[in-house]
Symmetry: D2
Subunit: 213 residues, 4 copies
């Protein structure tokens, strides 16, 4: 799928937002705008895992969706709120946010792809986010221009490059590859469309940060 959407995938993973974040030169307001919208994204992401539970055909699929849902709601949202606070964004501000267009676009695309398709469509629509962030963190580590000392975004990089997140990526990849092994050509075409659309919408999420839009 990455091969089929190669230009879009590269444009997403190596987006200027990512480059500037790696170099530590990303303007702080851009990062703060991104952080705020990422909070709204997490709320919709929780809805997507609720949808995964609904779409489950057995208890093991339910448990998989529930684990992801708990990770978001019980852990990540709390961490995100704290991290936002360290950037001067308090919880009251988060509660009053208006969703940016890029946030609405990607989150609703995922939810509709998952609802109108099946569980595999949902995971594929989430892949640019889940798998992508893992790749992006790895890519950042390999770039010569990446700055570690004194980079205000070092924590962000460390989190997505860390073992915990990379383990989550590996297990999602394993699940996806297992499921994708059984699909025929026509289904692969459908799923590649979902993957390509979602990748472009994730790139827009970076652009939104730069544009403060």
């Amino acid at each position: 799928m990455k091969a089929r959407s190669a230009p879009d995938w590269q444009a997403y993973c190596e987006h200027r937002f990512v480059r500037d974040l790696a170099a530590g030169t990303l303007p702080e307001p851009a990062f703060q705008h991104y952080l705020k919208q990422d909070y709204l994204f997490l709320v919709q992401f929780a809805r997507a895992w609720g949808l995964a539970v609904y779409k489950s055909r057995d208890l093991s699929e339910i448990r998989q969706g529930l684990d992801s849902l708990k990770a978001i709601v019980d852990v990540e949202i709390g961490l995100h709120v704290n991290y936002c606070a360290s950037w001067g964004i308090d919880e009251a501000a988060l509660a009053k946010l208006t969703a940016s267009r890029a946030t609405l676009a990607y989150t609703r695309y995922v939810l509709d792809a998952g609802m109108s398709g099946d569980l595999l469509d949902l995971h594929v629509a989430l892949a640019p986010c889940i798998i992508g962030y893992g790749e992006i963190a790895g890519w950042i580590l390999r770039q010569p221009f990446t700055k570690h000392e004194g980079n205000p975004y070092a924590d962000w990089i460390a989190m997505y490059a860390g073992d915990e997140y990379q383990g989550l990526v590996a297990s999602e990849l394993e699940w996806l590859n297992r499921r994708l092994a059984g699909v025929d050509e026509q289904r692969m075409d459908q799923l590649s469309t979902v993957f390509g659309d979602a990748t472009r919408l994730e790139a827009d999420f970076w652009q939104m940060g730069l544009d403060l839009a």
Copy 2:
């Protein structure tokens, strides 16, 4: 799929309701109860084709769902209302009906299978109805005990045995077989479960007629 659910499929297709209807000995109240609930069934069936339109990935799938939706809402419901009138059930009575359990069970099963799965799950859940009625009509014609002259249910048999309905069955079968050709074993297991469940719930729909429940 029929082979995998053979006992349930036979129990449905050769149900006592069907046998008595073929022989012309089915009590009229049983048939009238069936007709009334079938009206409520058609309304939910229309919702299922609305769902098929929502689930579509392109315009040709949308048109297929819309054709079925129009067939139900613009043609079949009207014919059904007229046919009910010929059995002494007027439209005011139809509007006030309470859904029987068997009606709720089959219709909601179809809608949930279609919503939680994909378009193929939806068609498979509808197959015992669409394909089944075609087979049942054919089976009735081949039985020695089937009575044509003076059978109060002759019109019903003629409709489902007729070229128009059989053509619809053939085209649905063709679509299903084309789609099923591309699925792997695990998917076939899932779809067979849906088919088996739906077959048992359709058999209950006949039983509901006999039980006046």
Copy 3:
């Protein structure tokens, strides 16, 4: 709503299955059949709370759905598996069960009511289960024929009559009453239909136990 569906509500709450269970005279196979199907019910119930998460408009609604989902998947299903074991039903048997019609009917009705309506429809469709079991346990305690000593079903009664479950019922009732306070007549009619249908389907779940069907 209970008043509008009074005969159905009473038929459900004071069903012969409930009476015989209270008196300790319910045949064990009936209870075992009920327990097995209740396991399948819990799995679908988990899907319903996943749907509630999907249907949420904010984080507090998401947390409410998630709490219920965790209660089912992380606690109740485990307790149920243990309780089944104490009745001679092992986990391997649970994994191979075929859903009864009454199980399919009620669970899919709930899921479709929740999907096609909104979060309130979903809660109302679940109310005969959540609130109903609380009322039934209270009703059992008040009956002169209820047997406590030597009643093989004493644990079941104690669980639903206990403070933990009754607290859950109270908080669900509080939520429902708050939401229902704001709805107009037409909406109340819709919701009462959902409540009435769900009540009848829950009564069928008891009957399924008696019929071993």
Copy 4:
């Protein structure tokens, strides 16, 4: 709702794309890009009316959804294809289009609002499109800078200002106002959020035309 989203509503209705179209100065590639994406929009719009049929509680709601669905699939898409042809865009080109971000954003927002909410949420999410185009056509007619003679977009203006489309707007408004009369404050807040989001996403659809993005 328009009052609550006044700046967004005005920004949408009086968008530069609309102004330039009224004045006849809109670059043709901008209009052609808009036309192409509007084709993809219509396909998703058809899915939304399929969803409306699924969400229906009775036959009259089903018929309302079906009428809109037929209007799109049996009439409007054909007219749109012909109109595109008159602008040099043939059907083969339409079949190969990739959806723009603004197209994905608005269409999926509508579908998710309708799926996660109820039929009223769906209609409210569609209102900026259905009602908005009617208002925009009326606004264009009242502007001093609007050019009729020799305006390449005169047909487009005439269609939306025409009696047929304005009648459709009036009947949708009437339905919405009837439904909205019965909702309480909290529900109105929810629906206003949907309306505001959808309005901003519709404004983005104009901007997409200007940006050729």
